[in-house]
């Protein structure tokens, strides 16, 4: 039975061990299942740290993070890695892909680490490759590229391959960190539309972080880093 909330954060406190000047404090953050959330945050606002915390790669010193009802802080490091592999798809700004793997191998990378996503990818298609091809065509990418080296693709194509990788095997949560910032402006909108449509189709929640407020209009909910952290951490550097 799916949990109603995809992300729940309570009284989170995180401080870098080596950089005492920087802290991240979030009193509360809730993202319901299937929501498309835009999180505005300029660089240096702690969004990267937040995303690492949501992925269970970093652990908060205080507070709780629950993803799909699972308390990350209570899991072992190995269990957190597995949980991330099973349920979260990540999409970064740039250099998302492993340059030494082909397009298809990049897309299927999560299936190598997660049996669950492998099984889900095989639920709708007879083979993993077909599943990847279907995703690529939904993202409007030439499916003939699948055996190409990723270094031969344009930046826009690479981002779509990265999106396909984040979505293969239908993870419940997609976290995107400035996925459009490397694209030119008319491509940005087109890419975003594809991303949102795919998330809707697979019924995944989407949390996208960006410093570009113009993109916020297409999301069901808009948050700002400095609102999340407001009043709690006066030393945090804001650029606006």
């Amino acid at each position: 039975m799916p949990h109603a909330m995809t992300i729940e954060i309570d009284n989170l406190h995180y401080a870098w061990k080596r950089r005492s000047d920087f802290q991240l404090n979030i009193a509360e953050l809730k993202i319901a299942h299937g929501e498309k959330v835009f999180l505005y945050g300029p660089s240096g606002s702690g969004k990267s740290t937040l995303l690492s915390l949501l992925g269970g790669v970093l652990l908060p010193q205080q507070g709780r993070i629950r993803i799909l009802g699972k308390e990350l802080t209570s899991l072992s490091s190995v269990a957190r890695d597995r949980f991330r592999a099973d349920h979260v798809g990540f999409l970064f700004q740039q250099f998302n892909l492993l340059p030494y793997l082909s397009v298809i191998d990049n897309i299927l990378l999560p299936c190598r680490f997660s049996k669950l996503r492998c099984q889900r990818a095989l639920q709708t298609e007879t083979s993993l490759e077909k599943s990847a091809i279907r995703l690529l065509s939904q993202l409007q990418l030439d499916t003939g590229l699948i055996h190409q080296k990723v270094t031969e693709l344009s930046v826009g194509q690479q981002q779509r391959v990265a999106a396909a990788r984040a979505m293969i095997g239908q993870p419940e949560l997609i976290i995107a960190d400035e996925p459009t910032s490397a694209l030119d402006s008319d491509r940005q909108v087109a890419f975003l539309d594809l991303l949102l449509a795919q998330c809707a189709a697979s019924n995944a929640s989407l949390l996208m972080v960006s410093h570009d407020r113009r993109l916020a209009t297409r999301f069901s909910q808009t948050l700002a880093m400095h609102d999340l952290c407001a009043g709690v951490n006066p030393t945090m550097p804001f650029s606006s």
Binding site: K17, S48, D81, R82, F90, F92, L98, Y100, L109, R112
Partner: protein, 420 residues
Amino acid sequence: MKTLLSLAFHSAWNRKGTLMLMVVSIALSVMLLLGVEQLRAGVRNGFSQSVSGTDLVIGARTSPIQLMLYAVFRLGDATHNMHWSSFEKLAGRPAVAFAIPISLGDSHQGFPVIGTQLSYFEHFRYGDKRVLEFMQGAPFADIFDTVIGAEVAEQLNYSLNTEIILSHGQGVHRLAEHEDKPFRVVGILKRTGTPVDRSIHVSLAAIEAIHLDWQAGAPMPGVSIPAQYVKKFNLQPKEITAVLIGLKSRSGVFQMQRYVNNFQDEPLLAVLPGVALGELWSIVSVVEKTLLAVSALVVTVGLSGLVAVVLAGLGERRRELAVLRSVGAGPLLVFMLLAIEGLLVVLLGALLGTLAVVAASSLAAPFLQAKFGLTVVFSGLTTQTQLLLAAVILAGALVSLIPGYRAYRMSLTDGLMPRL
């Protein structure tokens, strides 16, 4: 595990240029280390194969090692000779089973000439008590007959009945030749892998004959004795260089040695071949150990270079490692990925280095024999070499943990967005 290996391999292949250079550098250092060890073992093997069944080597008093070097290995020159009468006395001792006289000093095209008796072909043993065998022909019968070793025949392209002229003294740049008295090849010995291969054997009488009209190492001016008349002269040798002696019973060896060392007529020296070789090794071992230490240092430098290269590459790979983390790879996989890469390079380098040593060994043996008269016998990888190889791989595995650990630490602190 399959994922890990495939990722490690693909990632390494992507940076094959740099890594191949590392493989080559490790291969060269391994080649040096193993080569030194193989050569050491090969030289020892070659020396100890050269003589067997001989209980004592006897010559004019000198250092035991020097006596061995010139009497058995044909390296260097004899300083003094011993009288024929001494030889007859020694050979006549009841404990003696056989005595092989050896007379050195002449050469042919850089190959040493050995004046000896037929007992040489009958009693001389090498390797595992093996007898000299003839590839063609037979022992010398007439005065200007000669029996040559396999290496001589091959290098100079001699066959039976080839006429050869001996030179006085050693070395290719001979001063004087015995050109009035040519020799005829009557026998070619089978290859033994010992200095015998490089030897030209003639009878003691022949040595006397070619020096009849000589005095003090030079032809006497105005005196020339044609070859056909030499038999009219007394060809009984007056001096020989050394004697190889086999005893009826090995237990008498020290008694015989004492007898020789206290010999009344002239100062003589008797050495046990094994003992003299042991002395030689104890002197050479300082050099061997130094060489080994230097090559071990070279391997250390190679491995340090490897760690430096993998660590330097780590900076560029932070993005790659973060991507792997994001799709679910744990920090342990990141650790293994880096450690395996180092190990892969070491294994490949060690393999290449070993192959190069094996290949070089087969080329080195004939070269060393031709160039330096050194008989080197390589017999596969010695135990010592295998141990060294294992040590290199183990050291490589250990140092590969360093970049692995660095990557592990990095993946824990970096999170998913490394600051580049």
